[in-house]
Each structure stands twice: as structure tokens, then as C-alpha cells.
């Protein structure tokens, strides 16, 4: 290598920071030694700048360019070596700086263009960080970003102001979503929380703009341990045992003794043909989670309908009377009977009551009479019989309506034939038994010998139902007449009796007690069949578990019959041994245990994270105003009915 290569006599002083470089060098020609000027013009049009020495112009070409030339400057002091000018180019640094400024400018331009374009397209935002979840996409399309982000509204200055103003998006969720408990409390419940725990808000768990199928952050079981006192690793490792009555914690709406049915009735020859072959003979999957029972008409009626129609209501019974208090002429006139007609007793005959019974409890309540005191009730009862002979059903209707704040006799006496009542009253008024023309084979109202009865026609008989409702409603807590109150209770208890009540409804329909104002408890009947609900914060999918142990695997895998369970829910009469304790309940099945679930839900087998079975929110729902929005309601309805529930993260 030439050691003098970089000698100052052979090299010009390089200026890397100089903004221009020689245009000749760019074209791979010999660059001039002067280089470009600071303004970017060619500095090499001459090889030197002669200077005046005395009266002569002297060449000052530097040594790197060959030193002073032989020709020397021209007489007018110009360099004799003239060259055409080059076009200097910017150096690399300048390009780099310009490129950086250009890209930054481009970013600003893109932001500005996007911003302006957004003004032309309502409900669109270029700086949207990603699609919102499918549950919210329609809302966002309809109402725009401001449905959640209030800062999206207004002009640019408001927009910038929002940057320094705290934005609480969580409370906007409450515009549409509601829960059974407070939104800002953990699990929406009145859960005692540790003083160090923070308040909850929606964005702690929920995320948006993460795609159509994503609205909740990824959960781990460890996050539950952050708040919960009982901490454990997984379901199979440390999860508390289920309660001793899980999952049959609540009393069902229908009393059905699985033990007696499966172990006794279904095995009897006379019933075995009607009996279902398996659990699914009565229970069908109604929703994702629950196995519901079939309708009464389908699964119960064949055996139990005859029991319903065999239990009558006795509206009026002719009791033992102490003496005849009915004016003979009046009743004969009312009934259109001549005194000499066959069967009519003589007026001067000694009165001997044809009945030795007591009045029905219904009559006793309606007339407010002591049913074991013939002297006490005879007058009132015979007055009623006489008025029935005169006006047929009207006196009974008036009597019923007088015990109700609203007229209800039309429902309770629906189908009652006035002719039958009149004839029965006439017979009883003359101290005779009423002889019906034919047996009442098809149910309904009928009179027979000494009684006016009602036989239920079918399950859900409206007349029987109205009488039971009447009996339940006429037990006033503040009734001053203690005897009247006792009669009302006696009538009610008879109505609810499995053996003597009309239709025997309480045999299957659960009677619960309801606490009214003042602490008084009144019975309440669960008329409709209620599907069992999962416990709060829990869920269980029967769909996922059917045939889980192979095709045809039975329900008994989890639901093991408890043959020792006592389940006698009947209500006979107060104080009897089989009066149901309304809230006490013993299931026909053994409680399910954690070990049963752990056969599958354990390490290395099936999922066992908390979110598989437990829910965070308490009965989530939507506000009505949201559902009123047609298109949104339609979308939600479609999601609820057609889509699979979202996977648990």
C-alpha cells in the first residue's frame, strides 16, 4: 500500500458533513478538488482562483490538483483552465434526513386523511383497534363508537380534552346489561369481601376490539384464587366436597317419589305395561342444561287421571236437622208440588231428619255454622235450601261472592245446572232424598241423594282449581271471629287433602308456605311444573354428559336412587303425620359427590378449570330498551336460539 496515499499534498480535506458532493464524482468521472459550494453550485468551473501579486496575476492551483499551471491566469485575472460546471448532488446524510422527515410527514398525512375520511363516514373510525365482538357489532354499526366511548363525540378540541379526562367505559355497559345484583360488586352479589380487594368493573374481565369471537379476557383458575379464601389448585386437587344434598337442594314443584315408582309401581303387573322403560321415558332434554319432564297427559295421565276424577268436592250436604223450619206451603209453591203428590209427607207427621250427617266443610264456612250443632245450623241451612228451591243457584252464588272481594262465583259454579239444584233443594226441603235421573258418569256438577257434588273432569280442571284458590284466599290473618277462621282453615285443609281434596291436587303439586306481611304464613301451591335451575354461579350441561360413558349409558351413573329416602309430601289434615313440612325436602336420590365427576374431570383427562362449571355473573340479562331496538333484538334472538354458547376461555 502507498504510504503517502493520504498525504495532504495528494488529498483534499474531506468534509463528510458537507451537504453536497461533486456531480462529476457521482458520474464516476474525476471529481474536482474544490468540490461544490455550500449553496450547491459547482465549485470546479475553474481549477484555481488567481490572486494579484504586485501587478501580476498568480496561479494558486493546489498541489493535489497538480500545482500552479504553466499557462497561468489570463490578463484579466481569470483561471485559464475552464471546465463546464457539474450538477452537485446531495450527500447521503441529507437524503437520510429528508427521508425521515418525509415518512413522518406521511404518517401525519395518513392520520389527517383518515380523520377527514371518518367525518364523511358516520359510525366508522379508522383507528379502531380491531373488530368488536359479534354481540356488540350491530350496536356499534348502528350507533357508532360513542355507544361506549363518549369521547368519540364532539369536535377535535373535545377529543383532545378527553385525553386528559378519565374515561370510565364500564358504566356504559350498564346501559344495556343488568344483573340480579349490583354491577360493581364481585359476582353481582352481596359477598363479603376482603377490605384489600378492589371494586370490580366490567373492563377487568371483558375485552373488546379483539375480534368477533372474543369479548372476555383469557381466564385461569388462578384468578379465582386471587379473591376466594378457599384456594386450591384444580377441581381434582383441593376443590371442596359438594354439599350433602347436591344437586337436589331445592324442593321440586312436583312431588314425585322416584323410589316408590321405580321400585314398586312400575314393577306391578297392572302398571308395568304403562311404565316407562328408562328415565328418558319421562325426562327429555329441554335445554342445553336441563332434563325436563314430559307433560302430565303424556307421562302421568294413564295412571293418575282416574285418581283425579275420583275425588269430588262436596258443595252442600243435607245434614241432620233438629226440626223442620221450612214453611210447607212456601216450598210446595216454590217447587210446584201438590201436597197430595206421591211421596210428600203429611204436614202433621212428626219430623224425623232424613240425614244423620254433618254439613260439608264448604257449607259450614259459607254459612258460618257449627257443623256439629244441629240446633245452631238448622235455621240457616234450611233458609238456604228454601232459597235454592226458589232461586236455584243464585243464593249459593251470592253466598260465595259475599266471601270474596271480587265476584268469582261464575268460575266456581261454572256448569252447575239450576234445574238440578232446584230439584235437590225441593227434595231436601220436604225432608226427602234427591233421586237423580241418572248417574253422573262424565263428571261435573251433580246432585246425589243428600249432596251437591263436583267431580273434576280432567287434569287442570278449572272449577276445581278455582275452588282451591278460593279456599287458599279466604283465611284472613286478621279475622276477629276465631270460629269463622277455624272453619276457613278446615275448608282449606280439606281442599289440600290428598285423599279428600277435590282432585287430590296436593298429591303431586307441592304446597309451600309463603310469608305475608305481618309474618303470617299461608300455603302456596306450585301449579306449573318448574324445571330445576342450576345453582347461582353454576352450570351443568346435560347435553355434554349424555352417553358420556358410551352409547346408552344411563342416568344412574350420576343419579343414584336412595331407596331409604322418605318422601311423603301429602297433606291430609292439620297435625296428621303425613302433613308435608312445606320447606323440608328429602330427595329420592343420593347426593352427587365430587368423586363421581373426578372420574372424568381430572388431570390429563377432561377440563377441570373453574370456568367450566362456575359462572361469574348473577343472572345476567338485558334492559328492555335495548331489546326494543328491532334489529338488535332480532340479532340477539337469533344468537340465543341458533348459536352455540360461546366457548369458555
Amino acid at each position: 500500500m502507498d504510504e503517502n496515499k493520504f498525504s495532504h499534498n495528494r488529498n483534499r480535506y474531506d468534509r463528510p458533513d458537507f451537504p453536497y458532493r461533486c456531480g462529476r464524482g457521482v458520474l464516476w468521472l474525476k471529481p474536482c478538488h474544490q468540490g461544490p459550494t455550500l449553496k450547491g453550485t459547482c465549485g470546479g468551473t475553474t481549477e484555481c482562483s488567481p490572486y494579484l501579486e504586485g501587478d501580476r496575476w498568480t496561479c494558486n492551483r493546489p498541489l493535489i490538483a497538480g500545482g500552479p499551471c504553466e499557462e497561468g491566469p489570463t490578463p484579466d485575472g481569470k483561471c485559464c483552465k475552464q471546465h463546464p460546471p457539474c450538477v452537485p448532488r446531495h450527500n447521503l446524510k441529507t437524503y437520510r434526513r429528508r427521508l425521515a422527515i418525509l415518512t413522518v410527514g406521511l404518517i401525519f398525512a395518513l392520520i389527517w386523511i383518515s380523520w377527514m375520511a371518518d367525518q364523511l363516514q358516520p359510525n366508522y373510525f379508522s383507528f379502531d383497534p380491531g373488530p368488536v365482538s359479534s354481540s356488540h357489532i350491530k350496536l356499534a354499526e348502528k350507533d357508532g363508537c360513542q355507544i361506549c366511548h363518549e369521547s368519540h363525540q364532539g369536535n377535535a378540541s373535545n377529543w383532545l380534552k378527553a385525553a386528559v379526562t378519565p374515561a370510565d367505559i364500564s358504566w356504559k355497559c350498564g346501559d344495556c346489561h343488568v344483573f340480579k345484583g349490583p354491577v360493581s360488586l364481585a359476582h353481582n352479589g352481596d359477598i363479603k369481601k376482603h377490605p384489600q380487594l378492589q371494586d370490580t368493573h366490567c373492563l377487568m374481565c371483558h375485552r373488546e376490539h379483539k375480534g368477533e369471537g372474543f369479548s372476555t379476557r383469557t381466564f385461569t383458575s388462578g384468578q379465582c384464587n386471587f379473591c376466594h379464601k378457599t384456594q386450591f389448585k384444580s377441581f381434582s386437587s383441593g376443590h371442596p366436597q359438594f354439599s350433602s344434598d347436591y344437586p337436589h337442594i331445592k324442593k321440586d314443584s312436583i312431588n314425585f317419589n322416584h323410589v316408590t315408582h321405580l321400585e314398586k309401581h312400575f314393577l306391578e303387573p297392572k302398571h308395568s305395561k304403562k311404565a316407562p322403560k328408562s328415565c328418558t321415558g319421562c325426562h327429555q332434554l329441554t335445554k342445553e342444561e336441563t332434563m325436563g319432564s314430559g307433560k302430565f297427559e303424556v307421562i302421568c295421565a294413564e295412571c293418575h287421571k282416574p285418581q283425579i276424577i275420583s275425588k269430588d268436592l262436596v258443595l252442600i250436604r243435607l245434614p241432620e236437622l233438629d226440626k223442620n223450619r221450612i214453611d210447607r206451603k212456601t216450598i210446595l209453591k216454590a217447587c210446584g208440588i201438590q201436597s197430595k203428590d206421591k211421596g210428600v209427607s203429611k204436614e202433621d207427621e212428626e219430623f224425623l231428619s232424613i240425614s244423620t250427617d254433618t254439613p260439608s266443610l264448604t257449607t259450614a264456612y259459607l254459612l258460618n255454622i257449627q257443623e256439629d250443632d244441629p240446633e245452631g245450623y238448622s235455621q240457616k241451612l234450611q233458609d238456604l235450601i228454601l232459597s235454592m228451591a226458589q232461586d236455584s243457584v243464585m243464593p249459593i252464588a251470592k253466598l260465595i261472592n259475599s266471601h270474596s272481594p271480587t265476584p268469582i262465583a261464575d268460575k266456581m259454579l261454572a256448569g252447575l245446572n239450576p234445574e238440578v239444584i232446584k230439584r235437590a233443594a225441593c227434595a231436601w226441603g220436604l225432608n226427602l232424598e234427591y233421586d237423580p235421573p241418572a248417574k253422573a258418569s262424565f263428571g261435573g256438577w251433580h246432585a246425589d241423594l243428600l249432596e251437591v257434588r263436583y267431580t273434576p273432569v280432567d287434569h287442570e280442571d278449572p272449577v276445581a282449581l278455582s275452588w282451591i284458590k278460593f279456599a287458599l284466599s279466604v283465611v284472613p290473618s286478621g279475622e276477629p271471629d276465631e270460629m269463622k277462621r277455624k272453619r276457613a282453615i278446615a275448608m282449606r285443609d280439606q281442599m289440600l287433602s290428598i285423599k279428600k281434596g277435590v282432585g287430590g291436587c296436593a298429591k303431586c303439586h307441592v304446597v309451600n308456605e309463603t310469608v305475608l306481611e305481618g309474618g303470617n304464613k299461608v300455603p302456596y301451591i306450585h301449579w306449573g311444573y318448574k324445571e330445576s335451575k342450576s345453582l347461582s354461579y353454576s352450570r351443568y350441561s346435560h347435553t355434554s354428559h349424555l352417553d358420556v360413558q358410551g352409547k346408552g349409558s344411563t342416568c344412574e351413573t350420576c343419579h343414584v336412587l336412595n331407596k331409604d329416602a322418605k318422601n311423603k309430601p301429602a297433606l291430609d289434615k292439620p297435625g296428621s303425620k303425613d302433613k308435608p313440612a312445606p320447606l323440608a325436602f328429602t330427595s329420592n336420590f343420593h347426593a352427587m359427590t365430587r368423586q363421581t365427576c373426578m372420574e372424568c374431570h381430572t388431570q390429563g383427562k377432561v377440563r377441570q378449570d373453574c370456568q367450566l362449571c362456575h359462572l361469574y355473573h348473577l343472572e345476567p340479562g338485558f334492559r328492555g330498551k335495548m331489546l326494543l331496538a328491532d334489529d338488535v333484538a332480532e340479532t340477539l334472538l337469533q344468537q340465543l336460539t341458533t348459536q352455540e354458547p360461546p366457548a369458555i376461555n
Binding site: M1, N11, D14, P16, R21, C22, R24, G25, V26, W28, L29, K30, P31, L92, Y95, R96, L99, A100, I101, L102, T103, V104, L106, I107, F108, I111, S114, S126, F127, D128, P129, G130, P131, C145, H149, S151, H152, W159, L160, A162, A163, V164, P166, A167, I169, T200, L203, M204, C205, H209, K210, G211, R217, T220, G222, Q223, F226
Partner: protein, 267 residues
Amino acid sequence: MAKIWTIWISSSLVLLSLMVWTSQAELKFGFPTLVTGWFLFAVLFALSLFNIRKKLTILPLANSSSWLNVHLPVGFLTVGMFWLHTGVPWPLGLYEKFLTFLFYMTILTGIFGLIIQRSFPRRLTQSGAEYIFERIPLEIVEVHTKAKDLLLTCTQETKRDTLATQFLDHLDWYFQQPRFFLDHVLGGKKGETWVHQQCSNIETVLNPQERTYLQKLLALAHIKKNIDLHFALQAVLKWWILFHLPLAAALMTLAVWHLLVVYVYFL
């Protein structure tokens, strides 16, 4: 070297600590993205200061090599922090995609710069020559002039123009300006082979005196090859920043906008 390792280990520890903290914050239903976002922005800003440091040579802000030693591990740290912040390698929103694209491109150009800064200087030293990038045009002109002078002398002394004709027809193209740029960057020898091929084609028709000049011409071609190599490698060393710096500037600009959008809409 120990100092560099210390920086690398420190960066890794910072990233590890952030990861642990983030997972803990996730357990507590916190917002670790806010912290990781600010941290990432601060680190990116600190990295961008390297360019400013190079301009402010008069300030006692440690030398550039120290800055570079910090720049590299911290640059890698940002990749981990970016994924920690976003949670996904590729976001869904249009502008976030663009922001991510800028980040990845900045990182990729940075990695490219790291690779060439570690390998090219060694190759330049191995060439045995030393050329200042700004003077390479002059070097090429000088070699070209020497080659033409050599051929003029050859023609005058041997009274034959075979070599000169061959030069004008083929080799002059090679001496005019840097050639085989990409081949030199990739470490190939296409230029050398090409020159040897041109010379071997004519060598058989040259007399011994001309062959002497041919050998001198080959020596000049070798010098030219080294100049080309220096030009190619130094050019890449200087030009890669043309991509890295504007991308980094665009990234920082959009990151500021991202911060603004987050504060307006979320916080």
C-alpha cells in the same frame, strides 16, 4: 466484552421481570398493558436518542460504541416487550397493523444493520486494502486512467493493438465504475472470474511482451476488484440506515398517536 454481556443479561432480566409482573397483574385483573405500553414507548424513545447522540458530538454523552452496545440488547428487549404488550404477534385493527408493521420493519432493518456491522468490517479488513467511501470515485478514476495509460504504453512499445482493442471492447466497461455490486455484497467472486475470463480469451494471441502488460492490467483489475468490494460493502453499511431511521421515525410518530388514541378512548 464483559460489559456487553452485562447489558445483555440486564436486558433479559428486565424482560423477565416484566413478564412475571404482567402475569401477576393478569391474575389480579389489572391492566398490565398500560404499564408495558408506557415502558415500551420509553425504551423506543431511548433507542431513538442514539441518532441524536451521533449528531451532538460535542456533548459528553459517552461514545457511540457504548451507545451501540446498549442499543442492540435493548432493541431486542423491545421485541419481547412488544409481544408482552400486544399479546398477539399481529393485531386486528388497521392502524395497529400498520404500527406493528413499522415496528417489525424497524426491528428487521435493525437486525440487518447489526449483521452487516458485525460481518462487513471483517471482510473489508480481509481484502487487504483501505478505501475511504467518499474517495472511491477518485480511486476508480485513477485506476481507470492507469489502465488506459498502461495500454497506450503497450501499444506504443509492442506496435500491436490487440490488448488495447480487447480493453476498449470489454475491460473498459469494468474499469469505468463499480461493478458486480450485489455479488460483492454476497461475498461472490463473479467480478474476478469475469476479468480472468476476458483476459484468458486473449492471452493465447498475445506475444510475450504483451503478456507482461496483460499481467500489469490484471494487477490493476485486482485493485479495481478491491475498490468495488469496498464500495459495495461500505455502501450497504451506509445505506441500510436510510431504511432503519425513517422507519423508526415513523414508528415513534405513530406510537405517539397510539398513546393519544388510548388516552382519549380508554383511559
